[in-house]
Amino acid sequence: MAAAKPDILITGASGFIGGRVSEVLCLTGMATVRAGIHRWTGSGLARLARLPVAIVPCDVLDPAQVAEALAGVDVVIHCVLGDYHTNVEGTRHLLDAARRHGVARVVFLSSAEVYRARSGIVDETAPCCPASHSYSGSKTTGEELCWDAAAQGLPVTVLRPSIVYGPFSEIWIVRFAQRLLSGQWHTFHGFGDGICNLIYVDDLVRGIWLAATRDEAIGQAFNLNGPEIVTWNDFFRRFNATLDQPPLTEQGAASALGRAATMEVARRALVAVKNHLAEPIKTRLLGGPRKTRLGAVAAQAQTSVRATPSLYELRHLFSRQAVFDDAKARRMLGYTPQYDLDQGLALCAAWLAHHQYIRAFGRVA
């Protein structure tokens, strides 16, 4: 890459991964960062604004806004995560604009989910799932758009990280901390021995930087994973210990499935209420900051649902035996993940305490 200190546009900069990429590139001074956001609100935006970084409107569904955000940049790191339409059409707009503006490198954040692998050692030669309206299908389509753009001369690199965790991760840290702190979470006999494939966010940022700066990365796809192979039950135990909680008990397979099936009904009912009832009716039935009796029951149900694995998690996610092999990134880019699980989780626990999630959940002083 030509520029010693490249001008980099990060799309989805108010998200979990985009936020940390922005933070690292800005605070190391290794790049001049344009942090692309799609709206002027949200805690991710507040997080981003703690940096002396240029924040630019970049709704990837608005081609004019994308073109303006991207004008003059050397590198685009595409971290947007949205629904199918956003993932696919947004990527299309971004690649079109990057090609027109002669951007020197585009790094597309895909996902190891494109393999939909159930078992085995999975490297980049494994087939990707068909394009579809699922999350993984949208990433496959995004990759196909990248390869089309590459065929027209755009230098593109595709990254397929596994499960990315770290501070500000709602899915893998906040939600699992809530579950562990609820006192209702377990290890799961017969279901929790699948491989977790966790990568700490800073290791991913290192991988992104290598992909953005190494010529060997052009036109390639790379898996990125963490340094350890751990099972989901390992993850639960070690995160639980990091949060200083009493040891987890193991739940039998039949019991886990039965509870999950029961909670699935409650989960669907809560989703239906959330998605289909008008706000004024919801407020009247459930209350606002001060809940009605029905609202209190719904909140209790919500807590129980959150503290119970879904059938999908038990049968698929926690049971999956696939290992996403990042040997290619290690060999070609010199990628070496630095954070083992205990180091990563210790940072997450410190972050949770800082934001008073731990006290707010009521299980830890």
């Binding site: 604004a49 002396p52 240029a54 924040i55 800082h354």
Partner: protein
């Protein structure tokens, strides 16, 4: 002081013979849309009919004028200076001072959104400009109108809790304010005022108002990394009383305040304004009921506007004169001056790229 009965009484205090004033609402962002305009539409239709909406984005002003039935729209308040009696300033904080001084110097009464200003010198300038012009300069610090907060002030003034030893105030939730212009976060990277200036304006003003004094700053930590602060922890001291405040735009906090005295203590949710639980030293809890019709924050808007109009039409002091909040502006300035970073190991970047570390 303010009570729930204020709305009818304030409205009633407007002299029946007084003319409907011509007001300008300067700044047509999310706050104007969600707070002032619905209240005027519901309770002050005569004021709304002559209201001039002002915004540099003229289309936005026109849109809101048409939607709520305001009198007219324009892009520059200088164009209407001679036609207005009063102005409500709902523009970005950094512009309050210049706009207020111009308006006041032209004899226009001003109701200014919080924070009044971002610097104590600017706040003093504004108050002086109002004094010179003989104009009203009111501030919208709406939490002073909550019956629960009024009651806390009364109890502290009357010594009902004994000697005050400790006050805590936690206010945190994800930043979801639907800012239209993004002014909080400015696109140019030169931002420095965050949650401490925003939510802290209410919290620190309440502390000063409750105590009737300005505490001094003991310790302030923020999470700013060269930009603005999204989380702030403040410790203040006033005589024998320690005050701990935690503010966040990033996560939900306990969202409660406590006022602990030698004889009794109060613990309440910061948005629960109709009850006040008081626990005595013996552990007995007495819940004071503070009847109110207010259900939401925006329900207070009509009180704020009606009181402002009443103040300049009758020559009485507004509920929250700007002069009264200058102490909290000074305190916020002192907090920023004293701020040091939290210990946040997860933000370290030195080894991530094997590159240069933060200077």
């Amino acid at each position: 002081m303010a009570t729930d009965h204020m709305t009818p009484s304030v409205l009633a205090r407007r002299p029946p013979s007084s003319q409907t004033p011509t007001l300008a609402l300067i700044g047509c962002g999310a706050f104007a849309e969600a707070f002032y305009l619905p209240a005027m539409a519901a309770h002050l239709p005569d004021v709304l009919r002559t209201l001039i909406l002002v915004d540099t984005r003229l289309e936005r002003a026109r849109y809101l004028a048409a939607r709520f039935g305001a009198g007219e729209a324009c892009a520059d308040y200088h164009d209407v200076l001679t036609r207005i009696d009063g102005a409500i300033l709902a523009i970005p904080h950094a512009f309050h001072h210049a706009a207020a001084v111009t308006l006041l110097s032209n004899g226009v009464h001003v109701l200014c959104e919080k924070p009044l200003t971002l610097s104590a010198q600017d706040a003093h300038d504004m108050v002086a400009a109002a004094d010179r012009a003989g104009a009203v300069l009111a501030a919208n610090y709406v939490q002073r109108l909550f019956p629960s907060n009024v009651k806390v002030r009364e109890m502290l003034r009357d010594g009902a809790l004994g000697r005050i030893e400790h006050i805590t105030y936690d206010w945190g939730s994800e930043f979801t304010w639907p800012t239209v212009s993004g002014f909080y976060f400015g696109p140019d990277g030169r931002r420095q005022y965050g949650v401490l200036a925003d939510r802290g304006a209410h919290a620190l003003d309440l502390i000063c108002w409750w105590l009737g004094a300005k505490p001094h700053v003991t310790e302030v930590r923020t999470d700013a990394l060269g930009g603005l602060d999204a989380v702030a922890q403040i410790r203040l001291q006033h005589e024998g009383c320690t005050i701990d405040i935690r503010l966040s735009w990033l996560s939900k906090l306990a969202n409660r305040y406590t006022v602990c005295g030698s004889e009794a203590e109060i613990e309440n949710n910061y948005e629960t304004w109709d009850v006040l639980p008081v626990r005595s030293r013996s552990g007995e809890v007495r819940t004071l009921r503070l009847p109110t019709t207010k259900r939401a924050y925006r329900d207070y808007a009509v009180d704020v506007v009606a009181d402002f109009i009443n103040a300049f039409q009758t020559g009485t002091a507004p509920l929250v004169p700007a002069r009264d909040v200058v102490a909290s502006v000074e305190l916020i300035e002192a907090c920023y001056a004293a701020a040091v970073p939290f210990d946040m190991p997860w933000t370290k970047v030195e080894s991530v790229l094997d590159g240069r570390s933060q200077a």
